[in-house]
Amino acid sequence: MLKRCKSCSDFHWFPRSICPLCGSDDTYWLPSEGKGKIYSLTITRKAGPMAYALAYVTLEEGITLMSNIVDCDLDSLRIGYDVQVVFKNSPSGQAVPMFKPIK
């Protein structure tokens, strides 16, 4: 689910109640297919017991969000790869959107 503004028609992320682009409070949730491309990527090797991929993903809707790339060989990932959202549970139990590469 992404946030969109009825006043300026733009999407924004992370979600706010007031549109950060035009200032209107007429924002609403819209489902997204969660398809995008990797905009930037780094394999974090020394922050914990296992390496993980921190990334920015640009969705087809034109906005970019921070996430992890999962369910793949981390070292094979490249900027520009197509990815698809998958929901994983964070340590607190909440479902968070992560992405896996698609062919």
């Binding site: 706010r16 905009y39 974090t44 921190l54």
Partner: protein
């Protein structure tokens, strides 16, 4: 109404310690204040303005002003991370210019090394931070946030790990002459590339030191500065700016230095070609590249070529940088490197840098600070300083 020529940096002090488990943070602040006042030839009673940031324990400036023993008519605890102290210099100049302050004291101190801080640990900015639920679940820390910028820069312009390594090589070449520097060994590009990857593409030697310590500055009216026994160093231009994620329109190709630099150069009526020495915030090698491009020392995307082959080394290249060894090799106290950037710029203008790295007849210098996270939200501040 410009601040150009309206204020001078009359006192500087960089605490010699790099590890201080036996001193409190407040004590370090006070020792730095004392050192800068002694350097200026002024006393505690002369101070009527106080500036500090998030490293000052307590509520804004209240606890530290009380601890040091200050009576102030002007206070400012603007916090933009490591760039705060450059913002403070600019704000002090504005206060002096407006008649609100005569002698401003700016202090920084902290003990991240003794307190086991690291660029690989998540930072806690307190409750209610709105972006946190959408970023922290993904394991973002300081190093990988900056690594995202480096990875994109390599993708967009073919910047190489070797080019980034040259930034560290230059800093280490200067640090060898600094007896207080944490890392004094001169390293080669090969040495940097042999250091372990922390978060691709950043290696350990692409990252600044974690050091205890601090520093302080005295900013005052030029008339007062002229009565003291030091060369008069005047603020010629200043700029500050912040950049966030723009609602998801993320573009990692530039930083807020694009705006703070433009403001400073416009006010100073100068261009990058006029600058003889530059202190460039060096939390990571990529930070330096980005700021050099955004300030206009080279074209966007050309930062890799600009820093390569020793171009930042004093006596060798076109733009001597961080001649104290910078955050990469000398000091990055409290994880906030802006204070030491201003201090070395003032040393260069006074002719007080080590003779092996001193720029001849240095009259125009730039100090650049970058605070926060380059890959998400950060603050930039640019100062242009002149020796009268």
């Amino acid at each position: 109404m410009s601040i150009r020529g309206k204020a001078s940096i009359a006192g500087i002090f960089e605490h010699p310690t790099r590890k201080a488990p036996d001193k409190t943070v407040a004590q370090l602040h006070a020792e730095c204040a004392r050192g800068a006042l002694a350097d200026a030839g002024l006393t505690l009673k002369d101070v009527d303005g106080y500036f500090c940031a998030g490293d000052a324990p307590g509520l804004g400036p209240l606890n530290m002003a009380d601890y040091i023993g200050l009576h102030c008519n002007h206070i400012d605890s603007t916090d933009t991370g490591g760039s705060s102290y450059l913002v403070h210099v600019s704000h002090a100049a504005q206060a002096i210019s407006a008649g609100k302050c005569n002698v401003a004291l700016i202090t920084l101190a902290g003990r991240p090394r003794s307190e086991s801080s690291s660029g690989m640990k998540p930072r806690n900015w307190g409750p209610n931070v709105p972006d946190e639920p959408f970023e922290s679940p993904f394991g973002v820390v300081t190093v990988n946030n900056y690594a995202l910028v480096a990875a994109r820069h390599m993708h967009d312009w073919g910047t190489t790990a070797e080019q980034l390594a040259w930034v560290k090589v230059a800093a280490s070449t200067h640090a060898q002459y600094n007896p207080n520097a944490m890392l004094r060994e001169v390293v080669s590009v090969a040495d940097v590339l042999a250091s372990p990857l922390i978060s691709d593409p950043l290696r350990r030697m692409d990252c600044c030191v974690v050091s205890d310590g601090g520093g302080a500055l005295i900013v005052t009216r030029p008339e007062i500065a002229k009565s003291l026994n030091r060369p008069v160093i005047t603020i010629r231009g200043a700029g500050e700016a912040i950049k966030g994620n723009r609602g998801g329109r993320i573009d990692l190709s530039y930083s807020a230095a694009t705006w703070s630099g433009k403001t400073a150069f416009t006010e100073a009526r100068l261009t990058p070609a006029d600058i003889q020495y530059a202190s460039i915030y060096d939390s990571f090698t990529i930070t330096v590249l980005m700021q050099l491009e955004d300030l206009g020392f080279c074209a966007k995307g050309a930062g890799g070529r600009f820093v390569a082959d020793g171009n930042l080394i004093s006596g060798v290249g076109k733009l001597p940088f961080n001649t104290d060894g910078g955050g990469l090799c000398n000091n990055h106290p409290s994880n906030r490197g802006g204070m030491t950037k201003v201090i070395e710029a003032v040393r260069q203008l006074r002719g007080e840098s080590h003779p092996q790295v001193q720029v001849k007849n240095c009259t125009l210098a730039l100090a650049q600070g970058m605070g926060g996270q380059l890959g998400s939200r950060h603050g930039s501040a640019t100062l242009i300083l002149e020796r009268q």
